[in-house]
């Protein structure tokens, strides 16, 4: 078993464990922290699978935007987000797991350019040519859905709406 396979097995274990922890911990803020680790871990798997653009997209959209959105959702619906439970220490096991995930992210990214299976066709330029060429209608549909969902979200949360 060589290094990428070992990295995949470890990343898969971290993914399952963090996904479980995110749903099992009692404190909601800890849920968001665990799910952020889960998203970064999946980004490392994408790097390992020769999809660098998707890895970066995962880091930006999921580990960045979705995590902050979920945190925002907790902040506006709870009165005491920085309560006693939220201020307790994270613990050595979670710190060790986070460090392990970090080490394997670095390993995966460092491994990528020299991987023997790295094909040039998976370069982001080829991906964008495919994305805006044959899959253009899907992107158009995504844009329409996003616009509709923004309108729907504004309708749901607008001021003065009867409950």
């Amino acid at each position: 078993m060589n290094l990428p396979e070992l990295a995949f097995v470890a990343l898969a274990a971290v993914a399952v464990v963090t996904a479980l922890l995110a749903l099992l911990v009692r404190e909601l803020v800890h849920t968001i922290m665990w799910v952020a680790v889960f998203f970064v871990d999946l980004a490392a798997i994408y790097f390992l699978l020769e999809a660098p653009f998707l890895g970066v997209l995962q880091l930006g959209v999921y580990a960045g935007a979705v995590t902050v959105l979920l945190l925002f959702g907790i902040m506006v619906t709870r009165k005491r987000i920085f309560s006693r439970e939220a201020a307790t220490g994270i613990g050595p096991a979670s710190i060790a797991l986070g460090l392990l995930a970090f080490v394997f992210v670095v390993t995966a990214i460092a491994e990528y350019p020299t991987a023997p299976q790295a094909v040039n066709v998976y370069a982001p330029a080829a991906l964008s040519a495919d994305l805006f060429g044959p899959h253009g209608p899907w992107l158009l549909l995504l844009g329409i859905v996003m616009l509709t969902s923004v309108v729907g979200a504004i309708y749901l949360v607008r001021e003065g709406r009867e409950a």
Partner: protein, 106 residues
């Protein structure tokens, strides 16, 4: 890294899907339900990515990655709408416990 059988990857995404469904069924906080849906959706995206990585035809591989990009966009949209529902629920019920969201039933 083609030495690993596809069953290993399918096992991972299957496990993630199982965790997501478990969360959907067991938790009652709306934000936690959103987290569970995201975990399950990431399992689906993972499937697209690694079948793209193991495609013998490069065009097929690129198609898998393109569809994965589109699905990431749809998932982000879904979180935005879900949070709007959370805010509306919090305003109308005073809580985001889904057991209390029985207004349509009555």
């Amino acid at each position: 890294m083609t030495a690993l059988p596809p069953a290993a990857f399918l096992a991972l995404s299957g496990a993630l899907l199982g965790v997501g469904i478990f969360g959907l069924l067991s938790r009652r906080n709306f934000v936690l339900l959103l987290v569970a849906i995201e975990i399950a959706m990431n399992a689906a995206i993972l499937n697209f990515v690694y079948f793209a990585a193991f495609a013998t035809n490069p065009v097929v591989g690129l198609s898998g990655q393109s569809i994965a990009v589109v699905v990431v966009g749809f998932a982000a949209t879904e979180v935005a709408v879900g949070l709007a529902i959370v805010l509306a629920l919090n305003r109308s019920q005073g809580t985001i416990d889904v057991r209390r969201a029985t207004e349509l039933k009555e």
